[in-house]
Structure formats: C-alpha cells, structure tokens
Symmetry: C2
Subunit: 325 residues, 2 copies
Amino acid sequence: MDEEKDPGQLNVKDCFESLAQEARELYLPDTIQYIDGVPNPLDFYREYVCPNRPVIIRNAITHWPALHKWTIPYLRDIYGEKEVTVAVTPNGYADAVYKDHFVMPEERTMSFASFLDIMQHSNDLEKSAQHPGVFYIQKQNSNLTEEFPELIPDVEADIPWATETFGNPPDAVNFWMGQEKAITSMHKDHYENLYCVISGRKHFILLPPTDLPFIPYGTYPAAKYKEVSPGHFEMIDDPEVGQLPWIPIDPQEPDLNKWPCYSKAKPLHVTVNAGEMLYLPSLWFHHVRQDQATIAVNFWYDMEYDIKYNYFKFLENIAAVDKKL
Amino acid sequence: MDEEKDPGQLNVKDCFESLAQEARELYLPDTIQYIDGVPNPLDFYREYVCPNRPVIIRNAITHWPALHKWTIPYLRDIYGEKEVTVAVTPNGYADAVYKDHFVMPEERTMSFASFLDIMQHSNDLEKSAQHPGVFYIQKQNSNLTEEFPELIPDVEADIPWATETFGNPPDAVNFWMGQEKAITSMHKDHYENLYCVISGRKHFILLPPTDLPFIPYGTYPAAKYKEVSPGHFEMIDDPEVGQLPWIPIDPQEPDLNKWPCYSKAKPLHVTVNAGEMLYLPSLWFHHVRQDQATIAVNFWYDMEYDIKYNYFKFLENIAAVDKKL
C-alpha cells in the first residue's frame, strides 16, 4: 500500500481523499459491527477505542430493570411531580442550522407528569394540538445523575467494564426522552460515548473524523425558539451566545448542489434498538433521529487528548488552509 | 487550545509546527518517563501504546538469566563453533547514507568464537588491527529464534504481559551484539518495539512521527561495503536493490545549513542501561549508538494499521505536497 501512489503527484484534496479511502480500507467497517455480550476491557480498548471504531454491544444492559420498568405509568408514579427541563421546537430540530441561524430550543420547565402526558398522546391529533411543537428531554449536563437520581437504580451510574476500559468513571450520564420527531443535528463531541436505548430505537448517521474535509461548516448567529402564541414559534437572536460554527447540511437529504464535497463522505447508517448499546467513538460526526417515542441513557467518558486528537486538529487546520487556496 | 489560533491565517508549514508543538503540549514527555516494574496490560495499552508514547520499564527483565550469564566465556563455551552472520563496516555505519549512497554493511560469515574474540579485544589496538572495521551482529530476521535458539532459555521467547497487551506474540525477536562504534542510522519501523539491554548500554535519539515534516529524506542508490584488501573498504553499487529513500542527517551532528528545517525537530535523548527495557512506539524515528560493547534483545510486535497509521500517511502525503509548493 505504501507504494500505491506517487506522493509527488498529489495535491491537498487528493490527500484528503486518500486519508478517507485508506481509513475504510484499513480499519473502518462498511456496516456497523456487533459484539454479543460484555467485552474484555483490554480487547475493547485495542479493537475499538484506540482505532476509533464504532460498534454495537448486545446483551450489555439486559440486566437493567429500566428495560421493563420504564413505562409511562411507572415514571408518572415515581416522578410525576418533579419539575423537568424540556427542549421545545416547532420542527424537532434543536441546536441546528435553520434559515442561516444556529437555533437552540425553547427550554420549558414543566412537571414530568405534563411531559409524560404529551409523550403519551403524541399520536392523538386532538390532544397533541393542545401542545404544539416537539418535546425532548435532552439536557446534556449529566441530567440523569443531577436531575433524575431516583432513576439511577434502574440503570447504572456507570458501566463497570467501560469505567475499567477508560480508566475513569463517566464524566456525565444523560437521560434522553422525546417524541418521534426529535432530531439531533450533525455534530461531534469531545467524548467517548456509550449510548444505550431503553425503549424505542434511534437511527444514527455516522461519519468518521477522517471525513472532516467533506463536511460543510458555516458560522451562524445564535438564536432561540420562543413560542410567542399557541403553535407559533419565532426565532429570537441570542447576541450573548454570538456566532457559532456548525454543520448546516442535513445528512438525510444532503443538498449536493450546495455542498458537492459531501458526495465524498461515506455515512454509516446505524439503528440502535432497545436493549442495545452503541459505542460512538470521540470526534465521530453524528446525526440522530428516532421514528417513535424513545428513551435512552448515554455515558460520556473523557476522551484522551493524545495523538488521535493531535492529528485531527492538524486535519482541521489543513482543511482550513485548503479552503483559502 | 481550540481557540488559540485562527486557522484562517495558517499556511501548511504553520500546520506542521502546530502539530509538533501541540503533540508536546498534549501528550509527549520532555524527557523519557520510567515505569518501575511490569505494567498492567490495559494500563500500558491506554497510557503508552495507544497514545504512541515511549517509556523505559525497569525491573521487567531482571529475572532473565542472560543478565548475569551472557559473558564472553559463557557464550564461547555454548556457541563458539556456531557460524554467525556479522555486519562489518569501516566506520560503524551500517544501512546509512554515506557519500550520496545508501550503504549496507559487508555481511561476513564467521564462527561465533571469532566474533567473540574480536569483541573481547576491541580495545587492544594491536589485536583489533588484525580485524579492521566495526563488527555488529544485527540481523533483524528474528535471528534470536532463528539462529540462536539455544539462547532463548536465558531470556524469553516473548514478553508475556506484552503479548497480552498487543494481543499476539512477537513477530520477531532479534539479538544484537556489537562493538562500541556500531551505529544504527535514523529510521523508523512498522513495529511496536520492546528493546532490552542485557549488557552495556544504548543511546537512542528519538523523534515522534509528528516531527516527520522536519526530517530530511533523500533517495539514494544502494551500495554495499566490501573489504577489498585488509582494512580497505570500498562501496560497491548494488543495482539489484536500486534506489532507496533514507534519512541523510546525522542527529548527533545535524548539518543545519544543509537542512535548516531540522532545527524544528525536538529530539528526545534516551539512554537504556543493562536490565532496562525501552518501549519504542511504532513509527518513531530513532538513531541508536553505544559507547561500549553491548548486547541487547528486542521484540517486534505487529503494529495496528489503524487511525494513527492512517493519519501518519496523510502527514507524509501533505509533506510531499508542501515540498512541491
């Protein structure tokens, strides 16, 4: 392979294409791989974490009581009166580019019982008309441990074999519960992510860090949705947040006329079903949607700021230089 | 750190400098680190192998009988009659750039007893004059297991904790024995290397893969030393080997007028004493010398052709593009 190309003939864009193509030839799967059962920590580190390779782990959370306990009546019983923070948007897109703005959701405080009512009647047109918009509990501040500590015994505060793998307990454990239309737009995190679906299912579109040069970025003024009258949302500028870099493309329907470069990206489409755990490696770009009401819990473990991160920053810098050429 | 630089202002050479500098800020040591005793395989993989970070391990081979048994009389007793392959050069430089050629050593077959005599009398001017040149057993074809199997019980055929770490036994185990002046010129290997000094000591000059853009490479016609009359070596062209890319600079006395770029490389100077083991990560550039007769055994474990290798090839390609600009 070393001899395949004459580097003397390459330009920077060729280098980007070689990087992405060789990643797939060398170590990235064409389709998501599965592990059946809890892996050995060293094997998992060597086979997945170090090479930055996603995988779905089956039978890793089947002992969690949450899998059968977390029904709407149960959650209402133990938690109904609790005040929760809910992200509300007109279209399901929270933290996404819309009309040349980076738009954040309206954050609404309500009782968990009210939120559960909305979840329960999502498909009842009459009742859901009383609560226009898409509702999603998606606060990523370790909200499971911070806001829902009573739910921890139904899952775990950490994944013991993963804590051994990464050498530290998780930095955050997040609780996600939302309606069919809730969407997380394409972005990346500086975390190693273990994403566990409790009920429903999640559809991920994944792109490896080495596809960065093909992914459009823009800089957008921040705004926030606000429901100004029933069912009517406006985007309100948020000058305090200012300008933000974000990915404008919708990988479900990419506009290749606007962003022809994206045609070189090779997304991995992954469905995570209830009872499954996705290992989503740090710095992978991901877009997440669901096609039914879904509950999930994810664990963010600190990533290592080592040679992989170092090279990724280099790739970002070279991509920025290339844009100027 | 993400915010430190405006990528819009960078050029390719700035990107190289950021890469090398951030490597040192994030994960590379200023001086070699030490571990006292055999590490836990998972910790070792996470702390050193995955981030591609060198370290010296003490007390990892103190149980090897070789440490006290491998004297010249002992080796002569058990192995004196054995035929061995010895690299002979006029100056100690085998596989190095000299007078615009890549020069390989003369490979001489002799009895191990004769080689040991030469080793023993290195400092006796009269006796060493009878054997002009520098003699080095340095055949890297797993010569310990292939040529010296009787020596294995004095060391080990593999390093059990390292075999667990890497998930496979070593691909090669090499035996090194040579005179004070024997030198290995700067190069890199596609292996994870555990380098164990039995007697004497080795001085390594190490450069991380991220310093690649500052390291000069040239392409040189291959040649081989041949002693044409006693003490007089000639370089004979080797058209079968043809042209080879190699690093011409001597990191002990770098010619910065000829290669000003090398001033940005930040070598790590490391001495490995008898009884110590150096973990030399894959793709690190290294120059090795000794200041006394030295015996060593090294274990080459297969490297992973994963994201680190993938990014390194990208860096090589970008460096080649930059040279054209």
